[in-house]
């Protein structure tokens, strides 16, 4: 076994950390306040090569491994979790299914601009009545001549509105339930494709979350991803890898909150000494450090297994479950260490705490992860 990062992985961490500290940190609070997505920052991620980090060079990618990818998401999230969502939805949810299931033409036409950061990607599976029960899709796609006609709506779609390329799931055969779902590549500005309300959220406020609406939206037949009926499998296998991204996001949020809390504990004095001297505080910090380290190892392990072409479904479910639960606990305790100041918007820990909550929910709730893991165990 080897637990050291490779030189390439170390370089990725350093590069992304520099970018996050210089470019993301200064405006993070303001973007959160205004609920404002910055395309400019995404463009800068593109210039750095982050937007295609794990994809082959022939599709405009950085040809790095998945550990480098999760490190990138972790480092962005350490400073600004919304930016972590932008990148992980872009790569894991939009890029991955194109890379894995796309035809050569589709990869050239859609994956390459995503990888280069010229376009932003999104993934549309959830509907208002199809959350955890994702197979319960109501959006329909009917083949009519050279195109599929899409009708229905999607909820809680990250990067929506700003993204140009959407992976959309719809039912092509009602009878077959999950096996009647298909995946489509839908471009922004296709007639019949509009956006509904923008969600106002407790966290990740500078990552846009919108409803998608399809009204007789005609999608060219060649934009079917994979084959008809393969959609649910595409959706689920995409989420397996997506979970590594969210686990990494959770690790980053927790790390950011812990660093803030530890620094504060060293400088804040009560009863004539820094509060870090009190075990009630220092033991909280120790538990943060240990759980974050455990989360990080689980996350890198899942990414490693994906690199090696080995099964990683159980590993990524464990990573996502443990890391997101850790992020919630760590950020809550970070606010606790800051006391009243932590509850104010003067300090970033309340933002970390608000941002952490979603990691227990999206790309499979913690309960779904437990279901996945227990099925592996009891099968």
């Amino acid at each position: 076994m080897k637990f050291e990062l490779t030189e390439e992985q170390e370089m990725t961490r350093k590069m992304v950390r520099d970018f996050a500290e210089k470019e993301l940190k200064p405006g993070a609070e303001e973007r959160d306040d205004r609920e404002e997505f910055s395309r400019d920052l995404f463009d800068k991620m593109g210039e750095l090569g982050l937007t295609g980090i794990p994809w082959p060079e022939e599709y405009g990618g950085g040809e790095c491994d998945f550990i480098s990818y999760v490190i990138a998401v972790e480092e962005l999230s350490r400073v600004d979790a919304s930016a972590g969502t932008t990148l992980s939805a872009h790569i894991s949810l939009a890029g991955w299914p194109l890379y894995k299931y796309g035809s050569e033409e589709q990869k050239k036409k859609y994956l390459e601009p995503l990888a280069l950061g010229e376009k932003l990607g999104a993934y549309a599976l959830t509907e208002d009545t199809a959350g955890t029960d994702a197979a319960n899709q109501r959006t329909t796609a009917v083949l009519d001549g050279d195109s599929y006609v899409l009708n229905g709506s999607k909820t809680f779609i990250s990067n929506a509105g700003d993204a140009e390329t959407y992976i959309v799931f719809a039912v092509t055969d009602q009878e077959k339930k999950a096996k009647g779902v298909s995946a489509f590549i839908v471009e922004k500005d296709t007639p019949g494709f509009t956006f509904g309300k923008k969600e106002r959220k407790m966290g990740l406020r500078s990552s846009p979350t919108l409803e998608l609406i399809f009204e007789n939206c005609r999608v060219p037949k060649e934009n079917l991803l994979g084959s008809e009926g393969q959609g649910f499998k595409i959706a689920m296998s995409t989420l397996d890898g997506g979970r590594n991204g969210i686990a990494a996001q959770a690790v980053g949020i927790a790390q950011g909150a812990m660093e803030e809390a530890a620094a504060y504990a060293k400088s804040r004095e009560q009863f004539g000494q820094p509060i870090a001297n009190f075990q009630a505080i220092s033991f909280m910090l120790a538990d943060m450090a240990t759980r974050i380290e455990a989360s990080r190892l689980l996350t890198y392990q899942a990414a490693y297994l994906e690199n090696e072409g080995l099964p990683y479904g159980k590993a990524s479910a464990m990573a996502k479950l443990f890391a997101s639960e850790t992020a919630m606990e760590v950020t809550t305790n970070a606010v606790q260490i800051f006391g009243g100041y932590g509850y104010t918007r003067e300090y970033p820990v309340e933002r970390f705490m608000r941002d952490a909550k979603i990691t227990q929910i999206y790309e499979g709730t913690s309960e779904v992860q437990r279901l996945v893991i227990s099925r592996h165990l009891l099968a």
Binding site: M1, K2, F3, E4, L5, T6, Q9, I67, M258, E259, A262, A263, Y264, A265, K266, S267, P274, A276, Q279, S282, F283, L285, A286, D287, A289, T290, E293, A294, S295, L297, L298, Y300, Q301, Y304, L305, E308, A315, A317, M318, L321, F322, E367, Q369, R370, L371, V372, I373, S374, L377, L378
Partner: protein, 374 residues
């Protein structure tokens, strides 16, 4: 990064598992038989270099051994871990050529069992406060005092005993001595009655005008505390491995139990299967923390933070896993009917010895705060 065990370590892991399952018994009395069987395979000197009669294996293999043995019999795991980490390694690191030659081959072959006598009634976590004295006498020392909770006390053949040559020097007066069983003035008390790890002997060890020749002083005068500290990381990783083995035992027993229930038509509810899922995720995390600490230790780099994290995370898990698994499977006082009560009682010790889990948190917090600017 490489997160999988190498082919070599997989082979060793399979070998240790087979050995533990087929040859280790989990009876009632001091596990002499288990130790002899382990000794025949060289497992009592596994990470010791071949030069001294050991197997020359690495620290990761050692951790795999302790994990597999503890999964079957945690007391045997404790005895081997103590024998190796703190019974043998002080000699490796600090012994003179003569001391090494005299003791290491016997320890490695298991002809001698090693033990470690640091703790006293008044000095547990605060090890530097020990009161056993070593007074100069005829080219040697006269030791007086009493040690507490000594694993393998009364059974071991060689004790590393810590005493102070001058209490006013604080930890700088602490000195280590090699004391063979049977010398006059060394008295082992009766074994403590404990809640778990019943097969391992835990005794008081009294030094009554015990004479130790200068040639059996380990390291220099005043170097004892440093010797004790230098063993901590390795010892803690070993106990982390024991925690892993115990946690696995609980989780594997419960998984099999629930599967059997399912086979007989009783569906596992989410209140049970989700508990199992959480434990399984924590077990995977504990495994990575323990193995990583072992790999760093092997590399020779400093690993205090990693060792402490591994120790307390894995042993807290061993405790929680036993408790939660009893919730899922029910409880029986009899080990043969249901081993969970045994795992539960054994696990508690792992949170306490080789530095309580509170001490581990002090170490982790200190290391973290050192690297953070206020």
């Amino acid at each position: 990064m490489k997160f999988l065990l190498s082919d070599y370590h997989l082979k060793k892991q399979a070998e240790f598992r087979r050995f533990a399952e087929e040859e280790i018994d989990c009876g009632e009395h001091f596990p002499r038989d288990n130790l002899q069987k382990a000794a025949r395979r060289g497992y009592l000197g596994l990470p010791l270099s071949e030069e001294w009669g050991g197997q020359g294996d690495d620290f990761l293999s050692y951790v795999l051994l302790i994990e597999e043995i503890s999964r079957v019999c945690a007391a045997t795991g404790t005895i081997i871990a103590v024998h190796t980490s703190v019974g043998t390694f002080p000699l490796v690191y600090f012994g003179t050529a003569g001391q090494k030659k005299r003791y290491l081959p016997s320890l490695a072959r298991g002809e001698m069992l090693g033990a470690f006598a640091l703790t006293e009634e008044g000095s547990g976590s605060d090890a530097a406060a020990l009161a056993t004295t070593a007074a100069a006498k005829d080219e040697g020392y006269l030791l007086n005092g009493s040690k507490q909770f000594i694993t393998s006390g009364g059974e071991a053949d060689l004790y590393t005993v810590f005493a102070t040559i001058d209490r006013s020097l604080g930890h700088k007066g602490i000195t280590a001595f090699l004391v063979e069983d049977g010398v006059s003035g060394l008295v082992a008390g009766k074994s403590e009655r404990k809640m778990g790890l019943n097969r391992s002997s835990t005794t008081e060890l009294r030094m009554e005008d015990l004479y130790v020749a200068a040639s059996n002083r380990l390291g220099d005068e005043g170097e004892g505390f440093y010797i004790a500290l230098s063993l901590l990381d390795g010892g803690r990783i070993g106990i982390g491995a024991q925690g892993l083995g115990l946690a696995r035992a609980s989780i594997e027993y419960t998984t099999a139990f629930l599967k059997k229930e399912e086979a007989s038509g009783k569906k596992t509810g989410q209140s049970a299967s989700f508990v199992l899922a959480d434990l399984a995720a924590r077990l995977e995390a504990a495994r990575l923390l323990v193995y990583r600490a072992a790999v760093i230790k092997e590399s020779g780099e400093r690993c205090s933070k990693e060792a402490s994290m591994a120790k307390y995370f894995a042993t807290d898990l061993a405790m929680d896993a036993a408790a939660r698994c009893i919730d899922l499977c029910g409880f029986s006082g009899s080990r043969s009917a249901n081993p969970l009560s045994g795992y539960f009682c054994d696990a508690k010790a792992t949170q306490i010895y080789e530095g309580t889990n509170q001490i581990q948190r002090i170490v982790v917090a200190r290391e973290l705060l050192r690297t953070i600017k206020p």
